[in-house]
Amino acid sequence: MMLGGFFAMLIKSKTASYRIANLGLFLGSYLISIPVISTLMGMHNLPVNIGWMVPGGTFSFKLDALSAFFCLPVLIISPLAMVYGKSYMAHEDKHLGKHWFFFNLLSACMFLLMISNNGLMFLMIWEIMTLASFFLVMYDDEKNEVREAGWTYLIAAHIGTAALLLLFAILGNDAGSLQFDRIAASNHTALSIGILFFLAIFGFGVKAGFVPLHIWLPEAHPAAPSHISALMSGVMIKTGIYGILRILVLLGHPTAYMGWTLVIIGMVSGVTGVVFALAQHDLKRLLAYHSVENIGIIAIGIGTGVLGLVWNIPSLVILGFGGGLLHVLNHALFKSLLFFGAGAVTHITGTRNIELLGGLLKKARWTGWTFLIGSAAISGLPPFNGFVSEFFIYFAGIRGIKTAAPGPVILAACILVSLALIGGLAVACFSKAFGIVFLGEPRSERASNAHEADKMILLPMLILSFLCICIGLLAPLTLYLVLPPLQTLVGFPVQIGYSTVGVLQILSIITLLFALLIVLATMFYLIRRKLPRGTEESTAGTWDCGYAEPTARMQYTASSYAQPLTELFQPLLGTKQHGKKVEGFFPAQADFHSETPDAAREKLFTPIFVLVNRLISPFRKVQHGNLNGYLLYIAITLIVLLVWKTGFH
C-alpha cells in the first residue's frame, strides 16, 4: 500500500499516479482483510516479532480481535474514499501524486497502528499518521484559513502526543519493556494507574475529540478535501478510542472512577457537540461537531462497559462495550456518507454555506436521498444502523437498574437523559441540515444552477447508504460482530448465552418490526394511490397565507430554524450577533450576521496559549538563526550527555 503511494508521488501523470496508488491501496486492503476477517471469525494469528535497531523497540505486530474490529472501518472507508476522491479531485490543476502518497500512508498507518504490539512502534506510527493527515488537511495550502486549520490540528495533535509519550514512558518504566504483552503482565500501583489512565484520556482524547480537546475538529474537517474529512472523521478519530481501549486492556481490571470519567466525558461531549453543531452555518463544520457528539456516545458506551466490569454486571459489560464498539463502526459508515454528501454539495454548488443552498433534492436526487439516509442514521432513527448501537447503550442503562444498586440507577439516569437529549437535538440539527440544503427553493444562483454529482462520487455514497440500512435490518447479527473484540476487552470468553441478557431475541424482534415498518409504509402509500382520486394531482405555489409575491429569500433560514434552541443554550454557545437594527416604517437597509466561535478555543485555549507565549518568549534569544550557534548547541549537548553517561560508570 505504501509502495503504491510512494510510486504515485514519483509519477508525473495525474491518472497514472492515481491508478498506482489505487492499486496499492486495494491490494493492501485485500491482503489485510483476510487476517482481519479470520480473526473476527475466531481464528488465531501468530504475533510477528522482528528485531529492530532502536533501543526498547521491536518490530512487533499482533492482530487480536480488538485490532481486527477497528481495522474494519479502515477497510471499508479507505477504498471508498479513494474512489470518491478520484472524481472529487478531477478538476484540480495540482499534481495529486503527493496527495495520494499521503492518503495511502495514512491508511497504512491506521492499519499498522491497530496491530502494533510495542509502545515505541505505536508512538512512531501514531506520529506518522498525524503528519500524513496534517499534509492531507493542508491540501489547499495557498488558502489562509486552511493553513490556520492545519496549524491548529498540528499543535493540538502534538499536545496529545506529548501526553502519550509520557504515558508510554511510565508504562515502559514500570514493566521494563515497551512490549504490550510485558506491560499487560506487569503490576502498577493504584496511583500510577490513575495517572496513566488520565494521561491516556488526555492524549487519546485529543485525537478522538473529547470536549474540550475537540478544538481541531471543527477547523480541520472543513479545511480538508471531503474524502479526507470522511476518512479522518469516520476512521482516524477512532484511533483515539482504540488507544483508550488498548490502555484499559493493558492496565488490567478497571476501577469505578474510570468508568464514571468516561461516562461524564461522553455526556459532556455528546451534548456540547450537538449544541454547537446546531449553531453552525458551514455544512462540514456542522458535521465535524457531530463527530464530537458521536464520540461522546461511544464514550458513554465504553464507560458503561467499564462500570459493568467494576460492578460485575454482565449485561452492562456486553451491552455497554458492544454498543460503544458498534457505534464506532456505525459512525464510520454514516459520517463518511455525510461527508461525502457534503463534499458532493460543495462540488456542485461551490459553497459549504447552508444559508446559500436550498432545493437541491430536485437537482441532485441521488446525493439528496443518500444524504437523507445518512441524516436519519446519525440521528439514531429506526430502521437504520444508528438506532441499533444507541439501543444497545439505552438497554445497558435500563438493564442495570434491575440490580437495584444506587450506582447503576444513577448511570441509567445519565444514559437515558443524555441520549434522549442528544437524540432530540440531533433530529433538530439534521432536519435543519437536510431540510435547508436539499428542500424548499434555491436561496442563491449557485444552488439554482446545480446539477447531479458525478457517478463515481455517488457510488461510494450508495454503498455506504446500503450498509447503513443493512446493519439496521440485520441487527441481531451485529452482536456476533462485536463479541470477539469484547472478549479481548474483558479478558475472558463471552458468549451470547453468558448471561440472561436476551438481547439477541430483542434485536430479532426489533428487526422484524423494522421490516414491518417498511411494509406498512409501502402499504399505506399504495392504498393512498388506490383511493378514488388518489393519483389525481394538481400543482400550485406554496400556500403563503395570502401574500402576493413570495421569493426564495423569504424562506426560513438555517439560523432562524435553529434560533430557539441556540437561544436556549446561549450561555454555552456564546453566539455573537452583528448587524444594524431595522429602523422606521420603511427600512431601506438592514443586515444581520451571527457566528458561533468555539467556546473551548475562545475561553480556554486562547488564554492559555497567550500565557505560555508570554512565559517562553525570553527563550526566543536562543533561536538566533545562526547556523554556527546551532552546531555549538549540538556539540555542547553531546558532550554533556557523554559526561553524564560516563559519570555513572
Binding site: 436550498g358 433534492l361 430536485k362 437523507l372 436519519a376 439514531g380 429506526p382 439505552y394 438497554f395 435500563i398 437495584a404 439516569a413 437515558l416 437523559v417 441520549l419 434522549a420 437524540g423 432530540g424 437535538l425 433530529v427 433538530a428 432536519s431 435543519k432 431540510g435 428542500l439 424548499g440 427553493e441 436476551g502 430483542i506 424482534i509 426489533i510 418490526l513 415498518l517 406498512l520 409504509a521 402499504m523 399505506f524 402509500y525 393512498r528 383511493l531 378514488p532 382520486r533 388518489g534 389525481e536 394531482e537 394538481s538 400550485a540 405555489g541 406554496t542 400556500w543 403563503d544 423569504m554 424562506q555 426560513y556 432562524s560 430554524y561 434560533q563 430557539p564 434552541l565 436556549l568
Partner: protein, 307 residues
C-alpha cells in the same frame, strides 16, 4: 402472545378519531356553544379521502411519501401500547425506547415535509416542533426510568401491569409527579393549549397545524388521522399510569381503558378551555420543569429504595 391482544391496536385505529371529537365538544360546551358532532373527524377523513390533491411546485417526493411513513410509525407504535394490565401484542424489554424513536421518526418526517414546501410559516413550525420535542424526550425517558425502578420490569406491557391500586396507596407522590410530567408532555407532543393552539391556522403561534398547511386531500386525511393516533398513544401511556385498576376480564379491562381515554380527552378539553396559550419562550421553561419533576420523582424513589 395472545391473539386477542390484537384487538387493542385495531380498536386504537377505529376509536382514535373520537378523542379530538370529545375534546372539541368539551371546549364547545364550556364556551356555551353546541359544538360539532363527536364524529366530526370521521366525516372529515371520509370527505378528504375522496378528494384529489394539490402539491406545491416547490415540493419533492418527500411530501408525497411523508404521510404514509408517519402513519406507519404510529400504527406500529399502537401495537406496542398495552391496555391496562393486558399486554400489547408486541412486547419486549426496552420496547418503550423503540416507541419513543418511532415517534421521533414520525416527527423527523413531518418536519422534513414541512421544510419541503419552502414556506416560512412551515419552517417556523418545524423549528418549534424540534425544539420542544428535544426537551420533552428526556422528561419522558426519566418518567419511564421511575416506573422501571418502581415495577422492576423493563417492557411497556410489564410496567403497565405492574402498577396497581396498592402502588397508588403506597407511593402516590412519585406516581403523581410522573403523571403531571407526562400530562404536560401529552399536551406538548399533541400541540394542545397551553403549548399550541390547534384552532388558530393563521397566527404565528402554531407548531403542528402550521407544519401541515400544504397538505390536501388524502394526504391531509392521513396527517389528521396520524395526529389522532398520536393523541391516543400518549393518552394510553397516561391512562396505564393513572388508572391502576387491573382486572382479569378482557372486556372489563378494555372498558376501563377506553373510559380512561375519554376522561383524558375530557381533561385535555377542560385544560384547553380554562387556560390561555403560553408565550413560546415560557414553554421551554415548563418542559424543563417537567423534566425536573420526573427527576425529583426519581430521587424520591431512590431514597425510598435504600431506606
Amino acid at each position: 402472545m395472545n391473539i386477542y391482544s390484537w384487538i387493542f391496536p385495531l380498536s386504537a385505529l377505529m376509536l382514535s378519531p373520537l378523542m379530538p371529537g370529545i375534546i372539541n365538544r368539551v371546549k364547545a360546551i364550556v364556551a356555551g356553544r353546541h359544538g360539532a358532532p363527536l364524529l366530526q373527524l370521521y366525516f372529515d377523513l371520509y370527505k378528504l379521502l375522496r378528494k384529489g390533491s394539490v402539491y406545491s411546485t416547490s415540493t419533492t417526493m418527500i411530501i408525497r411519501f411523508a404521510p404514509s411513513v408517519i402513519i406507519a410509525c404510529l400504527v406500529l407504535a399502537t401495537m406496542i401500547l398495552p391496555w391496562g394490565g393486558m399486554p400489547a401484542p408486541i412486547s419486549f424489554s426496552g420496547d418503550f425506547i423503540l416507541l419513543i424513536y418511532l415517534l421521533g421518526l414520525a416527527r423527523f418526517t413531518t418536519v422534513l415535509a414541512a421544510l419541503d414546501t419552502g414556506s416560512a410559516f412551515e419552517g417556523m413550525g418545524a423549528s418549534r416542533e424540534v425544539q420542544f420535542a428535544a426537551l420533552a424526550e428526556p422528561s419522558l425517558m426519566l418518567g419511564f426510568l421511575v416506573l422501571i425502578l418502581h415495577t422492576g420490569s423493563l417492557g411497556l406491557s410489564e410496567i403497565s401491569s405492574g402498577i396497581n391500586v396498592a402502588d397508588w396507596q403506597t407511593s402516590a407522590p412519585v406516581l403523581i409527579m410522573v403523571s403531571f410530567a407526562w400530562f404536560f408532555i401529552l399536551l406538548t407532543e399533541n400541540s394542545r393549549i397551553p403549548v399550541d393552539d390547534p384552532n388558530t391556522h393563521l397566527e404565528l403561534t402554531m407548531i403542528h397545524e402550521v407544519m401541515v398547511l400544504d397538505y390536501s386531500g388524502p394526504d391531509f386525511a392521513f396527517i389528521q388521522y396520524a395526529a389522532a393516533l398520536k393523541l391516543w398513544i400518549f393518552g394510553g401511556l397516561l391512562v396505564n399510569l393513572v388508572v391502576p385498576l387491573r382486572l382479569e376480564s378482557l372486556g372489563l379491562q378494555s372498558l376501563i381503558f377506553i373510559s380512561g381515554m375519554f376522561i383524558i380527552s375530557l381533561l385535555v378539553g377542560l385544560t384547553e378551555s380554562l387556560m390561555a396559550r403560553l408565550r413560546l419562550v415560557n414553554i421551554s421553561k415548563i418542559l424543563i420543569g417537567s423534566a425536573t419533576l420526573s427527576l425529583i420523582a426519581l430521587m424520591v424513589k431512590l431514597v425510598g429504595y435504600y431506606q
